[in-house]
Symmetry: D2
Subunit: 379 residues, 4 copies
């Protein structure tokens, strides 16, 4: 694995490295960690990389790595730069024949996303989009139960993601994280909704197996002086007739990262919350709620495949992240070996999820600017 971005002090780069390291399947062999040469070099050294695999630009890295012998060069590249710097390195990597792992939202614009999708189709290479929250074992359990028809037809989807960390104008106060995420030139059309609303929308579609067909958005800038939305409330309609609500905020003062989803069908439903991810509440008409727990023997094969510890030994965000990497690595190794990976491992977000995410942002912005109640979800 080679990394683009993720130099010293970059939060998400470190997370990617831990996730990739975790299962001993992936080795970091090179990187272009920063556009600042000193930062790039220091970051590479701190990661025990040899000098000749520390690159000063992604172009240099992709070029030189592509010329290395097959048993030496990296197998894939992970891109952990801000949103506006996803597209160019991803396209170049695919052109040079490298598989790609990409942070979400996939690109800066829907148009870029579509180009990337075409390139993936043309090259036949793998692209994994790190919608982390779909990596949790009990998320997969919930998805499986719904897919199996456990709850009958799905009627309701409530998904929420109220953070509080942008309650002040932190982007003017030296917070690097706040700076780029609230900057239209680096983040894209949307702030909070692009950053976390897309996670919520992905999770809703991933677990329910439904597609959003219409939406009605009310986005806000709650903190004066901010350039992008820091909050949004959205009504949803799904392709099977279910309805729902999605809300996300970065001004819910005092909240950390409580992504939460509830889905109800005719016979019961599920509730899952990211801050206590090892518990899945399964609800029933006329019978007591059941507390499904990660690591237990009664779970589905796909949930078990995505777990490393027995019940009561909590896994968390890093393990969910590592599940994406592990499934991607197993799939990639099978492809290299010419074998068929276990079907459980094929389950990681792809370029199609990236397209829907970018379209979600576009549709939200359109809806927000419209006086009409409903905006049809188009791609």
């Amino acid at each position: 694995m080679g990394m683009i971005g993720g130099g010293k002090n970059a939060f998400i780069g470190a997370v990617h490295r831990i996730a990739a390291n975790m299962d001993g399947l992936i080795e970091l062999v090179c990187g272009a960690f920063s556009s600042t040469p000193d930062n790039a070099r220091e970051s590479g050294k701190a990661l025990f990389l040899p000098d000749d695999r520390i690159y000063l630009s992604y172009e240099e890295m992709l070029d030189k790595e592509s010329r290395l012998p097959a048993d030496k060069k990296m197998d894939f590249v992970v891109i952990v730069t801000p949103n506006h710097l996803h597209f160019a390195p991803a396209m170049l990597a695919l052109e040079k024949g490298f598989h790609v792992v990409l942070d979400k939202p996939m690109t800066f614009s829907l148009d870029e996303a579509k180009q990337l999708q075409k390139k993936v189709e043309d090259t036949g290479l793998l692209l994994c989009l790190t919608h982390t929250y779909s990596g949790y074992p009990l998320v997969k359990q919930a998805r499986q139960m719904i897919k199996d028809g456990t709850f009958g037809k799905i009627r309701k989807v409530y998904v929420e993601y109220p953070q509080g960390w942008l309650s002040r104008l932190s982007e003017k106060d030296g917070s690097k994280q706040a700076e780029w995420r609230t900057d239209p030139k680096r983040s894209g059309k949307s702030g909070a909704m692009g950053d976390i609303g897309t996670h919520a929308a992905h999770l809703a579609e991933y677990i329910s197996g439904l597609k959003i067909s219409q939406l009605c958005a009310d986005l806000s800038i709650m903190v004066p002086g901010r350039a992008l939305d820091d909050d949004g409330n959205v009504l949803l309609r799904f392709d099977n007739g279910a309805t729902g609500v999605l809300f996300a905020s970065q001004v819910a003062a005092g909240e950390e990262n409580p992504l939460k989803i509830r889905i109800y069908g005719e016979l019961g439903g599920i509730e899952w919350a990211q801050q206590e991810p090892n518990t899945l509440l399964v609800k029933w008409l006329d019978q007591p709620t059941q507390v499904y727990r990660a690591g237990m023997g009664y779970l589905s094969a796909v949930a078990k495949h995505n777990t490393r510890t027995p019940g009561g030994h909590p896994e968390g965000y890093l393990e969910a992240f590592a599940n994406l990497y592990r499934n991607f690595a197993i799939t990639l190794m099978a492809r290299i070996d010419g074998t068929t990976p276990p079907k459980e491992a094929l389950d990681f977000p792809s370029v199609e999820d990236g397209i829907r995410g970018m379209a979600f942002i576009d549709n939200l912005i359109r809806s927000n600017e419209s006086k009409e109640k409903w905006t049809t979800f188009t791609i």
Copy 2:
């Protein structure tokens, strides 16, 4: 106190009697419990009423009671009939000089509500509307903290009320509760939103101190064959610029009665859930969340006034209900005695709350039928 409605097996009638009994301030002295004479008589006997105070119609009761000497006749009447039978007995009671306690929603239509409001103003009598959930001590604590500016300007209000008890077509299956609540002739224009959406809206305005100024509704009938909405998602805008979400459902299969509210200001916020009403989470930017608990010494005067037990001795729904009755009774006794009641006791929902509740239903229905995103809240 005299009761209209609430015969044998009527859920809410029994709740009212328990709530009124609880503090020893109110005595049931007469009733017109049912339009079925046998039921009326049996109900009255089961409540230890003398035969001559068991009436066969509310007209008879109001007429005869109004002729009794002042020290014998009931002081006020409580009306616990289905929605379409609120208005007539309430008007007559006021005309006959009785104060009134009335279940919500206040009337069948907004027009009736306005007539009732006028009558209350003309007669100067007291009317208490039993929006139970505003009776909880920690609801009052939250309201007080927000009123005191503890969290700065309020930005967000999320209120939710997802029940599951109408997930099937129970109204065709012999459930009396389901029958009248889903019948437009008895419930009014709205089903779930009238029944529980109004509670959610009242709670949101009561705690936040804000008024809904615009709304955007998506109501549904999820169970085929049903005549009124059993589900609704609503975007809210408030008069101070805050935004919010209200959702309520009676088809969230497996849910009981989890009314929940979260409100966030610039500096922090609150979270309260009816199923664990003795806990109020108080959230802060940069500091740990605090767990406020009912009955504790650090609470505000109004929270303490509405509590009967020390910390850790849970109070519940009946005590919240009883708080409405107690505050009403204290206010009424003060009026009778010509004294001034303590200001904490003046806090019970009034005819104005009833007007806003009926208007909320009307505005919801209008919004639901509109293609426009926003409907202005009008009365």
Copy 3:
């Protein structure tokens, strides 16, 4: 009902009155509320009692009431004085032919308890001991499930009751509650263990259906200057071979009233906590934990009998207390009417429970003073 003790500002007297009032089955008709005449009179007036039923001593009350005609005199007496003042009025009441409701611990000493037991047997009158916590519907559900053999043979009982309200020497600081409870002359041999340890022991035996056969106690006075234990840790052995732990404290600083019990059998177990009493966790080998909730249709008959509200409308401490009164009242009315009460109503703590509670205290003190590990539970 007549009341002995419970004058103004007495916490538990007010609780008893609310509990007795709640269901409209019991009316307070007289009282001897205080040994201070002014307090006695003011308390009676505040409770709307006529002057001639406000007595200045319990002797006067029992004497005068016993001479009233049957349809006027009180049916039973409730005694809510400190522990050292339970025995004398209870004995006199029984002698005068009144049924008795008595706060726990039943008496000042085991010897008094035995005399009371004999008197109850001799007179055939009813005695109800207010072990409140056994009145909760889900406590009864747990008991029923264990009785039905749901979990196989019981192996473990953990019961805990860590309060924090005596973390300081409050008895020297004007707290009336603290004063008498830490005073050997008024409380008896034990402080915390008599006050709340007895509740824990009663609950353990009540739910498990087992009897403590041996115990090993380590009691402490944690706050210097205090005269009675404010803390205790106890190992338990039960008559079927199960073992357990009981701990109770009044110096667990920051705790309110979190009585909690867990019981495990061969196949699963239960967990119930008083501060969230409407939830009962039911645990299983190899299957997800179930969340039983008060008011739901799947509960046992005895749980339903002891509930007033549907699921999700929380009941609390006062309703649990009221269940004792209601069951006592139903049983008493049946006796008066010569009918058979429903078996669910026969379930309230009796003089036998009081004997075991007093013996528990005696055995604890003996064990605490012994160097032997095990003390056999004797009565």
Copy 4:
């Protein structure tokens, strides 16, 4: 790092490898994974080790590795065999000059533990004992707050560890985990108490900063046919006068791994539960309980040092485990580099903790067999 034990399907070996991998500081370079040659070879290959670093016995590995040049040979060895196979490889490793990471309980007997302690002292090498639960950031936060005197003098320690996975005689049913843990020849004198009671005792002493001075134990074999204790209840006394309770079980049917600790001082206390490890409740006299959360800015330096993700991105068991490895690795690297490690990193369990753990088992067994209430904790 070289590994002894931990071949295919060995639970704890895989956990150690994940934990060691996580931060990119440690590389697995060799292993003697099994006494079965095929298993040893297959395990090594599955871990991408070169053939010449896959050894067939620990003796071979320690011998050959010790002869490799300094820049090639492993820096330390981790031993993840059953308890009876800890001592010999650990002694040999130390003799050959390797630092050691060792699973708990440290050895088979206290005598072995003392020999190991002496060897560590003589060689000056590092030994890290993997008491995982002390690796959690909020455990360290709790320890720091108590150390800082936040709660005044400590009075009470409650620690509990009720698992349910040995509720049946699984050791006769093909469970490998159950087999060796219930076998006196492989586990040692104690079953449940050695396996998990030692964790509970370590956590109690680690967080409280106190030492157990006396104990009173009641151990049981609850499942007929089992050879070692599967359950135990223990009264504790600490060196500062505090008292406590420790209970652990493997027959609490339906429980997973809910290690939990509560500690109370004069002014407040803490509560931490392993199954939701990112929350620490901080309780106060007269003020609301605070919910401390991992990853937040208000935590102590040592808590922050042991965290990888921001608030709301849950870490779990593997991260706690990885903290031990990371702190060990940082300390080791500093020693190799001749620098001083940051003091936060010096915090991992050592041979002294291992000695206390083995002594705890010995003292428990002595107490269990004694008729005396108190057994003095001796080493």
